[in-house]
Symmetry: C2
Subunit: 285 residues, 2 copies
């Protein structure tokens, strides 16, 4: 099952895809159910079954051309992103890494949905306004002290993520802080795909293209700290919440390429077997 | 004016203090107004005037002994905290600092309200479960590219903050990430005091006591990156949102003391002229 967060005529809702372009509006199919992804996942482990029952026998309400995509989860309790999680990316940054996943946080205003324009920083910082193609994991079942072997049972679904970064600010000091949180500098979508449909993430790859030219291609099995380890580690600190997002790290650039984005570029992050997240880099207003 | 976020009989609300112990329940005085601090600040610049009108001539509804305190803002869009912002604290950490404020983020589940128990980490990490007494700034008026001389006009109010930290995790790598986000490891309160009542923050001090023994005492004028600079810097990256919180950094410990907290300790963070935030360190369940 693939679910989207969307806006239509000023109203927000959740859609269930019936094809690559059409979807059922969950709030029409099931008016009593939450219209926000985080709240939907918060109803508990039967959320997927309840959605499946609600849409059974229903026809699509809209085409994706009728709506605007929101980020898959609009305002998660937390969005964690992990640095230096692929060998080639670690090497291109020149930074040291430890055995632990190196986590930082992103705020909701830093992320847009599929097909929404990215907002670039002011001109001096365009020298290194960088994409980072990643697999995003969305938590369903809450938990603390989760063992690695149980971790994937806490995943509600997967998505594509562009963890866009303003390098000059990222390098102001030790914390990546503000450089990872520029307004509308990243994106998240197009949809959440449930684990039963996505299957084994380590059989898939992340591919990033800018204006059709491939810039990143790497198997997700090359993650240094695997998804299970990332979830287990975070759960040592706090109870993971439904709708929490983990952006699992970006691989290195392909030889001879870089990660820079420029005004007007069209950036696509594809997770094979899942879908393509596409955004244009707009103009700073 | 002093405002609290509270719970009473399973209901959440905003209170306006009429003394140090009694308050008016805003949802009784003005049922049409938001019952959440972030939403209240989001109604725009007239929020304070509207609250003042709503409570005019009203008597207190409750004593603070009738209710449980929530964090002043329960789920801000963002809580930024700044590292190494006082010379003595920088020296005791041995870390380098740059000219820019070194910001990281905290998630809502890491923070409790006044008089709520802090939740310590598992025993091996009690060796350095540390308080950090700080002044918290709450944003009212949204804005981007805010000049330093305009920054304080974006502040809705001030509060006390215990930016509790689990040092072992904080040191796992460059990012403070998880070590600054253990569940219920910090606190925020007791109330938001508006700028007209608080006056010049740089005339006040932060004092931290553990079981009545003073551990920190420092003038807020000793901040290395002042509040105005912190707000201006953040606004280079994104539009500050009503209810956003900035924890402005902790000073060094008094000579011969450390910042460690143990089970059963009572920790007080006082901002002079504002109030005392008090929490006990509970037992790990």
């Amino acid at each position: 099952m693939r679910l989207i967060s969307f806006q239509h005529s000023g109203r927000r809702g959740i859609g269930v895809m019936t094809s690559d372009t059409a979807f059922i509006d969950l709030s029409k199919a099931a008016p009593q159910m939450p219209t926000d992804m985080r709240a939907l996942l918060g109803i508990g482990k039967a959320w997927q079954q309840r959605v499946e029952q609600a849409i059974k026998g229903k026809a699509a309400d809209y085409s994706i051309s009728d709506i605007a995509f929101d980020p898959v989860v609009i305002e998660p309790h937390a969005t964690w992103a992990v640095a230096l999680n692929y060998q080639a990316h670690k090497e291109e940054t020149g930074l040291e890494r430890s055995q632990y996943p190196e986590f930082f946080l992103r705020v909701p205003t830093s992320i847009v949905g599929h097909l929404q324009d990215l907002l670039p920083p002011r001109p001096p910082y365009m020298k290194a306004f960088d994409f980072e193609g990643e697999l995003a994991v969305v938590i369903g079942k809450p938990g603390r002290y989760i063992a690695e072997q149980d971790a994937l049972a806490h995943v509600a679904g997967y998505s594509s993520y562009n963890e866009g970064s303003v390098r000059a600010y990222q390098r102001h000091n030790r914390q990546f802080g503000l450089g990872k949180n520029f307004e509308k500098s990243g994106s998240f979508g197009p949809w959440l795909m449930t684990p039963d449909e996505f299957g084994d993430p380590y059989k898939q790859s992340v591919i990033t293209r800018v204006n059709g030219v491939e810039k990143q291609r790497c198997g997700l099995n090359e993650m240094l700290n695997k998804i299970e380890n990332q979830i287990a580690y975070l759960s040592e600190g706090f109870t993971l919440q439904p709708g929490d997002v983990v952006a699992t790290g970006t691989p290195g650039s392909l030889p001879g390429t870089d990660k820079h984005m420029q005004h007007g570029d069209v950036v696509e992050v594809e997770i094979t077997g899942l879908g393509v997240l596409k955004n244009r880099v707009g103009q700073q207003p």
